[in-house]
C-alpha cells in the first residue's frame, strides 16, 4: 500500500497503483484514486479505454492485474447491498413481464432464493422509493411499455432501494432524449447531496453532467488524468494523455473535445471525442 493520506480514512473507494489489462493490452495502469462520500466522479474516455472494466472492478466482477482496490474498506465482492448499479437502459429485457414496482423490489430481495412472501414493510419501501424518483404514476405499468427515460428512473429507484453508499452508473444516459437525461442526472445529483452517496458515473458525453461533477477520471491510451473538469478537460492535459494534439473547446457551459483530423475520421459518429485512439 502506498503512504496513507488524510483522505484514506473517509474514502469509500480507494485505488492504489491499480492496473487492468486484457492479456498484452493494458487498459489503464498506475491508477491512484480516492472517492469520498457525496463526491460525483465522472469517468470519461474513448470506447475501449476501460471505463466499463473500471466499473466491473468496483463490482468485484473483474480482478485488477496489479495494485490494490478497496471498496468500503475491503476488497470488492459481488452482490454488495451498499453499491447501487445502473447500467444503460437497453440491457433491460423488452420481454420482461414485470411492473415497474417489481423491478424496484428486485433491488431488495431479487437475489434471494426460495419463496418470499410480500410484507408490508417491503411494499411501503418500494412505494417510497418509487415516489422519490417520480415514478409513482407508472408504478403498475409493465416495464415493456415504459419509455427509456422512465425505465432509467425506475432503475435508479431500484439501485437506491437498499440505501447504498456508492452509486455506480454505466452510461445510464445512452439513448435518452435531453429531457430524460436531465431528469436522470438530477435524481443522481440530488441523492448524493441528500445522503452523501458517492457517485461514479461512466459516460461518453460529459455535458449533461458537467454542472454537477466534482472530479473527472479520464481514461485513454493506457493512462489516465484525474482532477476537476477545469483541470482535466483542457487541450494541454488531454493532448499529453493522448500523446497527440487534442483541442478542447469551451462554449459557455459546454465542453467539446475535438480530435486531430485523421483520428476523428475513423469514427465519425461522435465527433466531439478523439476516437480511433488505441494504446
Amino acid at each position: 500500500m502506498s503512504p496513507s493520506t488524510g483522505a484514506d480514512d473517509t474514502a469509500l473507494i480507494s485505488l492504489r497503483a491499480a492496473a487492468l489489462s486484457y492479456g498484452e493490452r493494458v487498459l489503464w495502469q498506475g491508477l491512484d484514486l480516492d472517492v469520498r462520500p457525496g463526491e460525483f466522479l465522472a469517468v470519461l474516455g474513448p470506447n475501449g479505454a476501460g471505463k466499463t472494466s473500471f466499473v466491473r472492478a468496483l463490482l468485484g466482477q473483474r480482478q485488477l492485474s496489479a495494485g490494490t482496490l478497496t471498496v468500503l474498506g475491503r476488497p470488492p465482492h459481488k452482490g454488495s447491498r451498499h453499491i447501487g448499479y445502473v447500467p444503460q437502459q437497453a440491457t433491460l429485457s423488452a420481454q420482461a413481464m414485470l411492473r415497474a414496482r417489481d423491478l424496484v423490489r428486485f433491488g431488495i430481495d431479487g437475489h434471494r432464493f426460495g419463496p418470499r412472501p410480500r410484507t408490508g414493510a417491503v411494499r411501503r419501501r418500494v412505494d417510497e422509493v418509487l415516489a422519490s424518483v417520480g415514478a409513482t404514476a407508472y408504478a403498475d405499468v409493465p416495464v415493456g411499455l415504459l419509455s427509456g427515460g422512465e425505465r432509467q428512473r425506475v432503475r435508479i429507484g431500484q439501485a437506491l432501494v437498499t440505501d447504498p453508499r456508492i452509486l455506480l452508473c454505466d452510461e445510464p444516459l445512452l439513448s435518452l432524449d435531453l429531457h430524460h437525461q436531465r431528469a436522470v442526472t438530477e435524481l443522481v445529483d440530488a441523492r448524493r447531496r441528500s445522503h452523501g452517496t458517492a457517485v461514479v458515473f461512466v459516460t461518453h458525453e460529459i455535458n449533461p453532467v458537467l454542472g454537477m461533477v466534482d472530479r473527472v477520471l479520464y481514461l485513454a491510451r493506457g493512462g489516465y488524468r484525474v482532477g476537476t473538469p477545469d483541470e482535466v478537460l483542457t487541450s494541454e492535459a488531454l493532448s499529453r494523455l493522448y500523446g497527440t494534439q487534442v483541442d478542447v473547446i469551451r462554449v459557455r457551459d459546454r465542453v467539446t473535445v475535438v480530435a486531430v483530423p485523421d483520428e476523428a475520421a475513423q469514427e465519425p459518429h461522435h465527433p466531439e471525442l478523439p476516437h480511433g485512439v488505441r494504446p
Binding site: L59, Q61, K78, G79, S80, R81, I83, Y85, V86, P87, T91, L92, S93, Q95, A96, M97, L98, R99, D102, L103, F106, G107, D109, G110, H111, R112, F113, G114, P115, R116, A137, Y138, V141, P142, V143, G144, L145, R155, Q158, A159, L168
Partner: protein
C-alpha cells in the same frame, strides 16, 4: 351435407361418454400436472426468449422417446434423456442469445432424423409411432404416470426455489449479476428444468406441438397482466384448461388430442390479445395525464 355431418361426427362424438371417461382418468391427472408445469415454465420461456429452444428440445425428446419405443423401455424415461441432452447442449453452447438459435437450428434436424430412424426400425403398432409426434390420449399407463408425476414434482420444486432470482436474471441480467445473482448457473439450471417440462409435454400433445403448452398460455397471460402473482396463475389456468378441455373433447372421437388442445390454447390467446390492446390503451392514458 352428409359428408360435413360425417366429419363433424368424427370431431365431436359423445357416445358412451361415461365409460370412456373412466379410461382417461390417468390422462386427466397427468394433464393437470402438465398444465401446472407448462404454465409456470412458459413464463420464463417468454421472458428469456426461448420458444425456439423449446421446439429444438422437443425434437430431441422425440428422438429419445422413439429410441425407447424401439428398445422396449419406458418411453417417458427415453423422452427425458433426449430432452436433457438437448437442453444441456443448448445451455452450454448457446449461453449468448446470438449463438443460441444457430445451435438449436443445428441440433433440431439431427434429433428429428434420429427419431425417424428409430421409428422406421420399430415394428410395433403404428399408433404408437404417430402418438409420439402428435400426442395420444389413453397412452398414460401407471408406470408412466409415476414418471410424469415425479418429474413434475422435481420441476415444481426447482421453480419454487429459484423463481425470484431467475426472474431478476431474466429481466435484467446485468443488474442481477451486480447484485450477486449467479446468472450463468441459473441460466443452465433453467435449461434443464425446461428440458424436463418439455419431456412431460411430449407425452400428451406430442413433440410437434409442445409450444402450445409451454409458450401459448404464458404469452396469453402476459397480454393481460404483468403482476408477478397473477401472470403465472393465469398461465397455469390457461394451460390446464387447454389440456383438460382437449382431452375431454377428444374422448369420443377418432382424432388425436392435439388439435383440440392447440385450438383451445390459441382461442384463449386471441381473447387475451384483444383484452391486452385495451390495457395498453389504458396505461397510455394514465401516463398522458400523469
Amino acid at each position: 351435407m352428409t359428408l360435413a355431418d360425417g366429419i363433424w361426427q368424427q370431431i365431436f362424438s359423445f357416445d358412451h361418454y361415461g365409460e370412456l371417461l373412466a379410461l382417461v382418468r390417468n390422462s386427466l391427472i397427468a394433464g393437470a400436472a402438465l398444465g401446472l408445469v407448462g404454465g409456470l415454465v412458459g413464463v420464463f420461456v417468454i421472458m428469456r426468449d426461448l420458444p425456439f429452444a423449446v421446439h429444438g428440445i422437443s425434437e430431441l425428446s422425440f428422438a429419445g422417446a422413439s429410441a425407447a419405443l424401439l428398445l422396449g423401455v419406458n418411453i417417458v424415461a427415453g423422452s427425458i434423456v433426449g430432452s436433457i441432452l438437448a437442453a444441456g447442449t443448448i445451455g452450454l453452447l448457446g449461453s449468448r442469445a446470438r449463438d443460441r438459435n444457430s445451435v438449436i437450428g443445428t441440433i433440431m434436424p439431427f434429433g428429428l432424423g434420429l427419431g425417424v430412424l428409430f421409428l422406421a426400425l420399430y415394428k410395433g403398432r403404428a399408433a404408437n409411432k404417430f402418438g409420439i409426434l402428435t400426442g395420444q390420449i389413453v397412452a398414460v399407463d401407471t408406470p408412466q404416470m409415476s414418471w410424469l408425476l415425479g418429474t413434475s414434482a422435481v420441476v415444481l420444486v426447482a421453480l419454487a426455489v429459484m423463481w425470484r432470482p431467475l426472474a431478476f436474471a431474466s429481466a435484467d441480467p446485468e443488474v442481477a449479476e451486480a447484485r450477486g445473482v449467479p446468472v450463468r448457473a441459473l441460466s443452465f439450471a433453467f435449461m434443464i428444468v425446461l428440458g424436463l417440462a418439455v419431456a412431460l409435454s411430449v407425452q400428451i400433445v406430442g413433440a410437434l406441438l409442445v409450444l402450445t403448452l409451454v409458450v401459448t398460455p404464458a404469452a396469453a397471460a402476459a397480454r393481460v397482466t404483468a403482476s408477478p402473482v397473477l401472470l403465472p396463475l393465469l398461465s397455469v389456468v390457461f394451460a390446464v384448461a387447454s389440456i383438460e378441455g382437449g382431452i375431454l373433447l377428444a374422448l369420443g372421437s377418432s382424432i388425436p388430442i392435439s388439435p383440440y388442445v392447440t385450438t383451445i390454447s390459441f382461442a384463449i390467446y386471441l381473447v387475451c390479445r384483444v383484452l391486452g390492446t385495451r390495457r395498453a390503451r389504458k396505461w397510455g392514458a394514465v401516463r398522458a395525464t400523469a
